[in-house]
Amino acid sequence: MALKIVKGSIDRMFDKNLQDLVRGIRNHKEDEAKYISTCIDEIKQELKQDNIAVKANAVCKLTYLQMLGYDVSWAAFNIVEVMSSSKFTYKRIGYLAASQCFHENTDVIMLTTNQIRKDLSSPNQYDTGVALTGLSCFVTPDLARDLANDIMTLMSHTKPYIRKKAVLIMYKVFLKYPESLRPAFPRLKEKLEDPDPGVQSAAVNVICELARRNPKNYLSLAPLFFKLMTSSTNNWVLIKIIKLFGALTPLEPRLGKKLIEPLTNLIHSTSAMSLLYECVNTVIAGQYSCSVGSVCLRISVVKYLGLLAMSKILKTHPKSVQSHKDLILQCLDDKDESIRLRALDLLYGMVSKKNLMEIVKKLMIHVDKAEGTTYRDELLTKIIDICSQSNYQYITNFEWYISILVELTRLEGTRHGHLIASQMLDVAIRVKAIRAFAVAQMATLLDNAHLLTGNMQRNGICEVLYAAAWICGEFSEHLENPVQTLEAMLRPKVATLPGHIQAVYVQNAAKLFATILKNQEGNTDSTAAQETSQLMIDRLPLFVQSANLEVQERASCILQLVKYIQKLQQKDVEVAEEVSALFAGELNPVAPKAQKKVPVPEGLDLDAWINEPPSESESEDEQPKAIFTKEEPKHSRPRHTEVDEKELARRREARKQEQANNPFYIKASPSSQKVYQETPGVEHIPVVQIDLSVPLKVPGLPMSDQYVKLEEERRQKERAEKKKKEKKKRKEKRSGRGKKHDSGPESEEDITPAHVVDIVTEEMPENALPSDDDDKDPNDPHKVCDIQGNLQDGSQVVVSVIFENKSDSFLKSMEFNVLDSLNSKLQRPEGSGPHDGLTVPFQLPPGVSNEARFVFTVQSIVMPQKLKGTLTFIVKDSSTHEKLDFKLHFTCTSYLITTPCYSDAFAKLLESGDLKSSSVRLEGVNMPFHHLLARICFHHHFSVVERIDSCASMYSRSIQGHHVCLLVKTSGQTVSIDAKCDEPTLLGNVLDEIKQTFSQC
């Protein structure tokens, strides 16, 4: 073989060639650096010799040393010398060294221009070849500029070997010297049809890369590429072309249709996985309606890529991915962490009400098995993410979720204690039906706190105790055995917990204490109550000594309080009522954006100075004094030192009133509590199940798995019931067409949640919009403003009405009444007649305004409505009954809820063909487009889906689920709105309202 002969001759020639160097390095493993430094000295000597062969050998050794990480930049000039040797052997080594060692800032590159040009035009194709190869590694903008013409000529060389290399290096030249692209492009295009397949594939490579950077300019080449794609059998080239089409189709949608056929053919015929993968990726990216499902199964042979592709499909075809759930779950067992993480990401997207429990159960098993903490933490966050996504949308059984959370607290050394804690708090606060259960669980957790905190390294998890203490305290009325929990919260061990948790413990111990007192005072025996007080007095001093200020302050405060209570108890005074009044009232969640939504009252300029801006001449120390003396006495509230029963009751009543009228206070929904009792299977849940044999398990907690079974039973029961009903119906109807009802897979809608949960969220005060003035007598002193409807569910609308007293007299005994129409009815309390008025729960001093809310039941929302109503009231001084007529205007807009919509979902909606269209033109609208959009969004509750220049698509949904889509275009002062909606009447009315909005401006 040629190689051996070459090797042999070199061996004989030099003292130390590359092989010797390599061998030497391998023999000097202990003092490699020293050996190499002597070698480098030798090389330096060799480089000084005139013999080019010796120099080339030296440079070759240097290239090797460079790879080992030694700096050889000092030899750059010698490399150039070897490059310019006329002998191919040395030239080859020289160019290799240059391509390894040179980079853009190597200054000797300037010296190479002429040498390279000479080599490019060498009669020997291999000389030209090494020059081109070397150049591809170290081409600089200067070289590119100087050599562009030479390389362009080479593209038409007679030898395909040179043409191929020249075409490829042209791409590098374009990058460094973009001006060369225009003159070279026609020739490059020619090369697409070169007779040599290698040259052709090189041209495809280069054009594909160019097109990826700027697809627009290469659309004209599409037919040519299409021809190549259908004729070529070279998979390497096909992949490139398919990738190119992937970049082109977004610009030319018609291409997509043309591509479907050849792509599908390739997908079904090719055996090359890489080509298949490329096809599938392009199909996914282009969202062609193509049978993707079958393909991803084949792809999934290559797990990682399959998962990657599936996550892309998931966005467009969620159904086809969901059927591969088992496969994805299997991937969780994979040894490779990156595959597991990909699978987790996928699972997040594919849970539904139906499979959530099953998936989470699987994940919990993995949590137990997982070794690395990072991966386990990742699992934990994913479980919580999956469950809590879109506002707990997929959770049908919150008891199950709570027990999952409790199970998660057993994880050793997790960092995510706070995450679990915040979930516990969130669920317990927002899902009212679950509180009793949550409290029981939390009490057990508190009782077993020593298990969680036993190891100081695991203190990340003690965050959950924060949540547990708070939940037990706040909802202590649900506790089975409050005294025991109080005991648990006041254990000396608690003092080892972090300060902020202790603080919560102390505060909630006080809440618990209040509840216990209340329970115990009903009994005749007063010693129990006194014992509890004594317990508090005994244990609290521990916290009073705490180094944490917060703990200390709360503890000493509460300690004094308890001591006072004890004194009263000894005098047989009933104190429970008053103590529990300390914590009366419910804490409720407020949407994080609520504050932002509160409209700034008219006439209030937040940026204006409240008092005169301090002038600089004034001396500064006088300023504060002036403020204090001017302060009105009413600002300092008189403190009631003695609180008697009546006063407390009155205050409580007042607070209830205030809460009822406070628009930012989210009221309890009456429906939630009672449903809980109806839940089948709750009695079966063993709440206390002590299992002391397994030390690390928190005993007494129901396993989440049980819920999976229970849930299954419940669903079956439901299904059975449904079937029964259907059968009955069929009997009544006696029609033979009912068959399709009784079988078929359980659909998403069939699953009703076990708890009708009151997930309080995003309930925000709507912005007040004054209604048309003509509805009211403008001279009337008592102005009534109505406020837009606020969704409850499909048929209920809450109307907030602001009452403003513009007169000089005090108004009381206000009654609000509306004449019901067939369609809309005011909801009145049970037992009252259909024409009775509702008492407005407040009185109005002169100049004051307040807001009350009324619930209306609305059947059809497609038409705007006007309801007539009257407000009767008594003017305090004259004690006369007076009456004020008003009209409530229910616009169709007020039934719309701002709902965000993604552009792909939007497109699907439009394609579905269920929607009726209508359009409207607005003339003479003189405002910037974004103002126009903002106006539609604000006044008509739309959200912008997509905006391109002077055209935008918008979306909104009615409370009964009608989709309303708008396409707004503007040209000059004319605005045209094309709209689609599944309810034409509603659409017509909404459009009329939009038109009216713009006619007013």
Binding site: A2, L3, V6, K7, S9, M13, L18, V22, T63, M67, L68, S73, K87, F88, T89, R92, I93, L96, F102, H103, N105, Y126, G129, V130, T133, S136, C137, F138, V139, T140, Y161, K164, K165, L168, I169, G198, S201, A202, N205, V206, E209, R212, W236, I239, K240, K243, M273, S274, Y277, E278, N281, V302, K303, Y304, L305, K335, D336, E337, S338, I339
Partner: protein, 158 residues
């Protein structure tokens, strides 16, 4: 196929070959080499061959004691990259005849010459194995001819 670099390293993390398709400073190169060796060597056996590193896809494959690691741009086809690695191994195998790590260590310049005939400027230059082999052989013969020329010449001198 826009490739950024190709690295060959042993199980001990010793670099055996490095090819950079874009010009880069030595510092950048060293950082990438360090990152790649630690990342790839930390992988468990039977893990998947693809990784994400910064904005690049890293595709690697182990052949006996040697890891072949290719850095490609993120829009590239991972399976094709794997194919490229394999094709290179096939080419080496054909040239050296049952290639092993030592072949590449002692004839590292040959390994580069083969790579240069197969890939160029980060793109696949020649997809046909035969053509690559033929051109390598032809350049070797060229070297051979010149070399014996020179050899004769030196003999004359002595």
């Amino acid at each position: 196929m826009t490739m950024r670099f190709m690295l060959l390293f042993s199980r001990q993390g010793k670099l055996r070959l490095q090819k950079w398709f874009t010009s880069m400073s030595d510092r950048e190169k060293k950082k990438i080499i360090r990152d790649m060796t630690t990342m790839v060597l930390a992988r468990q056996p039977r893990s998947c061959n693809f990784m994400q590193w910064k904005d690049l896809k890293i595709v690697y494959k182990r052949y006996a004691s040697l890891y072949f690691c290719l850095g490609v741009e993120s829009q590239e086809n991972e399976l094709l990259a794997l194919e490229i690695i394999h094709r290179y191994v096939e080419l080496l195998d054909k040239y050296f005849g049952n290639v092993c790590e030592l072949d590449i260590i002692f004839n590292f310049e040959k390994a580069y010459f083969i790579l240069d005939e197969f890939l160029m400027g980060g793109e696949v230059q020649e997809t046909s194995k035969q053509i690559v082999n033929r051109s390598i052989e032809a350049s070797d013969m060229l070297q051979e001819v010149r070399f014996t020329d020179m050899h004769a010449h030196t003999h004359k001198c002595t």
